[in-house]
Amino acid sequence: MGSLKLENIKKSFGKVDVLKGIDLDVKDGEFVVFVGPSGCGKSTLLRVIAGLEDATSGSVKIDGREVSAVPPANRGIAMVFQTYALYPHLSVRNNMGLGLKQAGAPADLIGKRIAAASSMLSLDPYLERRPAELSGGQRQRVAIGRAIVREPKLFLFDEPLSNLDAALRVNTRLEIAKLHRELKATMIYVTHDQVEAMTLADKIVVLNAGRIEQVGAPMQLYNSPANEFVAGFIGSPKMNFIEGARLGDSARTVGVRPEHISVSDQGGAWKGTVVHAEHLGADTNVYLETEQAGLITIRLFGEYRAEPGATLYATPDAGRTYRFDERGMAVR
């Protein structure tokens, strides 16, 4: 009861093409994350799905029904915004109930839905408060509650965690994951944070410059990126890209993830000097200036003593290097 189909969606603001032909299928109950750098069009795409922007061309179908000409309130969607966007003059209860009230639902149904949502999000003690009297995390829970109350076919999240501090972000992320499991609803989630994308998504859509670069499960994107952009975008620290010619490889670029390189002070494929080391406790990031591959990043698990200036040898894991051609596409 909550599928979405996008066909050749294009959107231009004046002469600027923001979306350049997006096709996408989202199945019922899927958690799909749009991820990409700033300005890639992911938020615009979400707004087109919500009906807050009209697409220049293309069609949006929710549950097989063409909704391009349907106003946002009648599309069967609910949206959670980055800035919470709670109505400042209404109590938490009325904030959550407003959508249903506008749709003309009976009062007892509204009350029942609010009660269910507020107990799910532990908002019961706050129902009579105004948004100004709540903390950031609570506000975002109210915003999520407002979405749940409407029982939409499609949940849309527009960077909902970006305004929260790090600890709250992790908590709210867990809550959203739990919510998805409980409601079994279709959710579309926009973020620029790949950790959120990897942890929440059934399916990630990587967008860049108004186009879809790759669609796939998180591990699929990590293990077999379709092109250089996806390879560089997914994974942290970023994948090392080395000119193929320097390594005597026929591919234009060779990519190795920092966690797929082993080091030794005795000997290995690439000899280099340590430029800098970041000690994070659980892992250590070493920046190594090598003779063969230039500056590379190496991620070592656990603590590792590496002094700047020391000589180290790095060896890439042979089975886990990626090769890209002139157009940046992966060569298999």
């Binding site: 309130a73 915004f81 800035t83 959508g99």
Partner: protein, 279 residues
């Protein structure tokens, strides 16, 4: 640095400047009020002296209240000011919302056109306005004044309010759209309350010139039953003899309603100005 900021010498200097300015600004008002309670001879003998038991005289007030229909003038002024204020705020806010919220061809041009009136005084068009009012039979009606003052107040109102409305969160308006609120409900219930300080600023800037205006009442509505208070006061100013007691008393009375309106708006006004009135 925090030391310098709280140094007593600086604080005193700053307050001295502010107090001096306050004195200069309030002095004429004070002179008017003080003299309105004095006899005619005392006004001319020692204009700056406060009324004493000997010089105290309410002749000005009694003249004002007995001569002419002063309460009607008052009422006219109030009707004109409040009605114009209402329309300036309503239409100004609506135009500002459209300019800041919707993308359409000619948006910037329309904004400039609406703001043009800030630079061109409406009095330049007096002759044309008079012809228009004569043609439409609105001469000697309060409607004529309300229409002119609404037009006069709109440019500044649109200009200031559209700047403020651009700062209202898009997410909030979009949340309203998703919850099925009409554009009117979004405008009246979500956006207007958030720009209230700006509305108060516009209200004060619009209200005072309208209340004080003599020009348009003189030209468009000089009839006895449509006289405003500034025009009504003129009956005491003659070519050869001016009834100063009455003029000063009338002016003192005329200050009251604006003062009340100002006090209503002032808390919001200060917030409006401090949050960057025109930026």
């Amino acid at each position: 640095m925090s030391q310098a900021r709280s140094s007593p010498a600086r604080t005193i200097a700053a307050h001295a400047v502010l107090i001096l300015y306050t004195v200069i600004a309030l002095f004429p008002v004070l002179v008017i009020i003080v003299n309105s309670f004095k006899s005619r001879a005392a006004i001319f003998n020692s204009p700056l002296a406060p009324p004493t038991a000997k010089t105290f005289d309410l002749i000005g007030y009694t003249t004002v209240l007995s001569q002419g229909d002063f309460f009607a003038y008052f009422q006219n002024s109030l009707i004109v000011t409040v009605a114009s204020l209402f329309f300036v705020l309503l239409f100004g806010a609506m135009a500002a919302f459209a300019l800041s919220e919707y993308r359409f061809r000619g948006n910037t041009l329309m904004g400039l056109y609406l703001a043009l009136g800030i630079m061109i005084p409406i009095r330049l068009g007096t002759v044309a306005i008079l012809q228009l009012m004569v043609a439409s039979g609105l001469v000697n009606t309060l409607t004529a004044l309300i229409l002119v003052y609404t037009a006069q107040g709109l440019p500044l109102s649109v200009f200031i309010l559209s700047e403020f409305m651009k700062q209202v969160s898009d997410d909030l308006k979009n949340a309203g759209r998703i919850d099925g609120l009409s554009e009117y409900r979004i405008f009246f219930r979500l956006v207007l309350p958030l720009v209230r300080p700006a509305m108060a600023t516009v209200a004060v800037f619009t209200m005072i010139p309208i209340w004080n205006d003599l020009w348009f009442p003189l030209i468009l509505a000089p009839a006895e039953n449509t006289k405003t208070i500034t025009l009504g006061t003129q009956i005491f100013i003659g070519q050869f003899v001016t009834n100063w007691n009455a003029v000063l008393a009338a002016l003192s009375l005329a200050i009251l309603p604006v003062l009340v309106l100002y006090l209503i708006f002032s808390r919001q006004l200060i917030r409006g100005i401090t949050s960057g009135a025109v930026k």
